[in-house]
Symmetry: C2
Subunit: 336 residues, 2 copies
């Protein structure tokens, strides 16, 4: 990881002047998302695009307020951050249900089809004896069960999103972001020269990330098929440091974005971030399979297919850890 | 793979004279296994050791008769090979049931415990919320079910072994092997100089192995977490070429042993062979889990744990393919 290039942050440029264009631009993105939402009406693709834009902007504003808090009007920053966290959390749920369902249905279809995911060769007939037939029946029932449960959750999340976007609370957030599009409320330190006060907060964000990565079992993760992620009862406990790293990596990336205004930061960090997104998605999909398996009165064949699916998604969790360590080793990070 | 060092197989040494010491020694091993069996009585460890010795000798004799058939009295070789295959197949079943049960119970315990298999750190409490608790109950019931089923199968296999070892058919095999300990029935070609006729059959065995390996999806297997082995419905179909390679690798190894009398062949081939053994064991354990899941009237929690176990063992199948390709790349084999 390189330190940001501050060649243009001389003594004559204040920290606030460096941060403001980034926050203005993200606030403008947010307002664009708002317009998209107003225009989308019943167009599903349009309203998904609107929610994605709003969430992306909200995450970046919130991250910047967090990292560069010492330079800002802290009371304002803390207040806006809380509200943005509420908003992006609410908006994220619907998309999470959709992508979780897609992930689980795809996995079930891969598991119960007769073909591998790769290397040529024609399709293999789907049913090979009773083993495959049993799984096919169970997989179909498991798929239907998951579809019912996740569609219901998605419908609820959709209503919650619509309600949030129509609420007075949301209008207050939108007003605050509209102000941010033209003015950033700085604290006293925000007026100091960028070269003196901007690196500190960014370095804190990077240091927290490096410490979190250093605490991950990366050597273990570099051994393919270590089966660590398959210690199912330890699931949430063992996943937490990876989820935390995902959030810290995001904060670090946004800090890089804010300081390299306009420049694309290290593509390898994006790759590492994608691996951690996949880690989170697979872990949550595994939990959804386990939850579905606790539905009362399901058939044993359905429970069996859900068990296969649960382990399959934990296998994906392990694969994501492997991918993360591989991407991370390509960063130039001076891991302590 | 190196060609065997035939420096001592000059024109003055016949092929039969090279093969005979190896077959004599393996026949002596067989007879030693027989004595161990007679002496073991109700000593389980002793009778397992006896069965292992008998099987190892039977496999090597049978493999040598197969590979070097053109040099031998073919009618005798074919007849003895059939009988040895019957014997080692019968003796293998009991051990297979035992090791399958151990493998499955270990996997269940790993899956339902709260700890990963590796990297330090104290044990994690086993039950983390209802997800883990549900799996723990299911795993215990699945373990009990597998234990019942595999113990029954093992008891049957044990009776079948004892019956086989007491049969007239077995005594005829033992007599044939006792003769082999002092004399090898050769065909006309067996009297020809070793240098002229010994390499051909060994090269055929090696060529069949190389062809089988070349047809395996090794490039795919080299990508960790390719999830190929998790296309469950294709299970048996996709496993067959690997199982076949396992048998051909064994024949090749025995041919190397026979020609390097006394020398240990390439350790890397042993490693590749171990990976294929593990591949076979995991594939069969996965099938046993799937079979247990079809037991009528099992609880959904039991079926769920068996589904997790099935996928876990298929994950092991994939891991074994990865290990095989890694070991194989270290051979000096001129893969065509």
């Amino acid at each position: 990881m390189h330190n940001p290039d501050h060649s243009d942050h001389g003594r004559d440029v204040s920290a606030g002047e460096v941060l403001a264009p980034y926050l203005h631009a993200r606030a403008a993105d947010f307002l664009r998302g708002l317009r998209l939402h107003a225009e989308s009406g019943s167009d599903t693709a349009g309203s998904e695009e609107a929610a994605r834009t709003l969430r992306g902007a909200a995450r970046r504003i919130s991250g910047t307020l967090h990292t560069f808090r010492p330079l800002l009007d802290t009371a304002w920053a803390d207040q806006l951050r809380t509200e943005l966290a509420w908003l992006s959390g609410t908006l994220a749920l619907e998309q999470a249900c959709t992508s979780r369902l897609v992930r689980l249905v795809d996995a079930l279809s891969r598991l119960s089809s007769g073909t591998g995911t790769g290397h040529g060769g024609g399709p293999v007939p789907a049913a090979r004896g009773s083993e495959a037939a049993g799984l096919t029946v169970g997989a179909a029932r498991a798929g239907a069960l998951l579809e019912r449960q996740l569609t219901l959750a998605r419908t609820r999340a959709h209503s919650a999103s619509l309600q949030a976007l129509g609420s007075a609370r949301f209008h207050a957030v939108a007003d605050a972001v509209a102000l941010l599009a033209s003015e950033v409320p700085l604290g006293p330190v925000g007026a100091a020269p960028a070269i003196e006060v901007l690196d500190g907060p960014a370095e804190v964000a990077e240091r927290r990330l490096l410490d979190a990565v250093a605490a991950l079992p990366l050597t273990r993760a570099a051994h393919p098929y270590n089966a660590d992620a398959l210690a199912l009862a330890a699931g949430e406990g063992q996943d937490a440091p990876w989820h935390q790293t995902r959030l810290l990596l995001r904060l670090h990336r946004y800090a890089c974005e804010a300081l390299h205004t306009g420049g694309e930061p290290h593509s390898v960090l994006y790759e590492a971030a994608r691996a951690l997104d996949r880690h989170r998605d697979a872990a949550e999909a595994a939990t959804a399979a386990a939850t579905a398996a606790r539905t009362p009165r399901i058939a044993p064949a359905t429970a069996y297919a859900l068990g296969v699916l649960h382990a399959d998604q934990r296998h994906e969790v392990e694969a994501a850890r492997f991918a993360f360590q591989r991407a991370w080793r390509r960063t130039t990070a001076p891991v302590p």
